[in-house]
Amino acid sequence: MLGMILFYKLSFITTTLSSASLSIIGKHFIWRNKFIELFALCQFAIIGNLVGHLIVPMIHLPIIPLLSSITFFILGKFLFDLFKVNHKERSTRMICIYLILSSLQYLMISFFPNLEPHLNSGLFGSTVTTTRIENLILIAVFIVINFALFYLNRMLTRNSLEINFFQRRKRNVKDEYLLLIPIVVSVFGLGLVYTLSFLSLGAVILGSSFKNQKKNHTVLILINIAASLGGLLLSLFFEKLSTTPTQVVLLATLCILVKFFNEKLLK
């Protein structure tokens, strides 16, 4: 048992750091009403990943798919801001964009069937199949982002509140590009389902379940870490359990249980 944990030690570290960061980052996008935009943008990242894997045989650099993911993601964000696609009626537009990009992904697979495993890992990813280099990149990114989130917390929160309170006013949203980098790296290394789930589930289920934001923040980070680590452990010991679905279901279960017991305690 200990041997298996030591074998996957980098995955445990990645999982801890990523789940903690994603819980904080996700709140900002939810406060800014931009979560559905993220959902669409992640499709750009997956396309970038597929394009990167097409280029790798020609250039022989394993980091190409990650760089390509980031490039396509940032390009998507830039196009959304430039053409103001993410302004009014954004939900419907983002769903349409998701459908188009998702279809584009499957069209690429039909022309290049060797890309299919990369599409699956882009959607469902898994911390146990991430390579050593990918884990180290993820760990480095999340350490940096955790420091940045700590030091820039007040500025980011203030901007998020301003965007929420005064939706008709133009706001400077350049800080979102900082928040997007760990998201695209997480989609690349850990998959879309893991990333979006750990960004949102806690914030949505436990939204106003606590007396204040500080308590909410702390509990959410702990739940995210517990679900992420717990899901990884369970999938290592029970072969039939896939890692990401186990982590996500565990996260949802923990959030619902905490909400239920918190409401009972408050009554």
Partner: protein, 186 residues
């Protein structure tokens, strides 16, 4: 010495909205800007604050714009904001003497559970810094019931009483229970 004076000011984006505007704001005064929809009330505020260029005339601030605090019109989706009113003021680094205007029982109230008036109180206080001499409020009473409006008016009265140098510019088409001078845009 007045804080602000405008001479033959014309406002608008491509063409002028209405006639020339000549107004003044003195210390300790509340100036209410009234007018029908589309008369340019919010545009006037944005012009005074240099967010929109003036078409003609002059805007003369005798104080620095750092001493002017502005609360825009609120349009919010609050369902996910899980801050208490006091935590919101902490995010904005509101000085303790300003936070003191928030009654004790409101400090721990979650934003999602607060009434419209209570939210507006918190937002008004969030704008005030140690340097604020002029507070500009754009439609602060929109969508507020009578009780909530009284809450906001009481706060404004208390602040004006405590600080004789504080002035307010309030855009509102509603009749306010405040001692104010009105300026009507046509």
């Amino acid at each position: 010495m007045s804080y602000l004076s405008t001479v033959n000011l014309k406002i608008g984006y491509k063409s002028s909205l209405g006639e020339s505007i000549n107004l003044e704001l003195d210390p300790g005064e509340i100036l209410q800007i009234k007018g029908p929809n589309g008369s340019g009330k919010s545009t006037l505020l944005k012009t005074l604050l240099n967010e929109v260029p003036r078409l003609h005339g002059s805007v003369d601030w005798k104080i620095s714009l750092k001493e002017v605090s502005y609360l825009p019109q609120v349009s919010t989706n609050s369902s996910n904001i899980n801050f208490t009113l006091e935590e919101i003021l902490d995010v904005y680094l509101v000085p303790d003497r300003i936070k003191a205007y928030l009654r004790d029982e409101l400090r721990e109230r979650l934003w999602v559970n607060a009434s419209g008036g209570e939210k507006q109180l918190a937002l008004i206080l969030s704008r005030i810094t140690a340097e604020t001499k002029v507070l500009v409020l754009d439609e602060p009473f929109n969508h507020l019931d009578k009780k909530s409006r009284k809450l906001v008016e009481d706060l404004i009265n208390k602040m004006m009483l405590d600080n004789k140098e504080l002035s307010l510019i309030v855009v509102s088409h509603l009749d306010m229970q405040l001692n104010c001078r009105e300026y009507e845009l046509c």
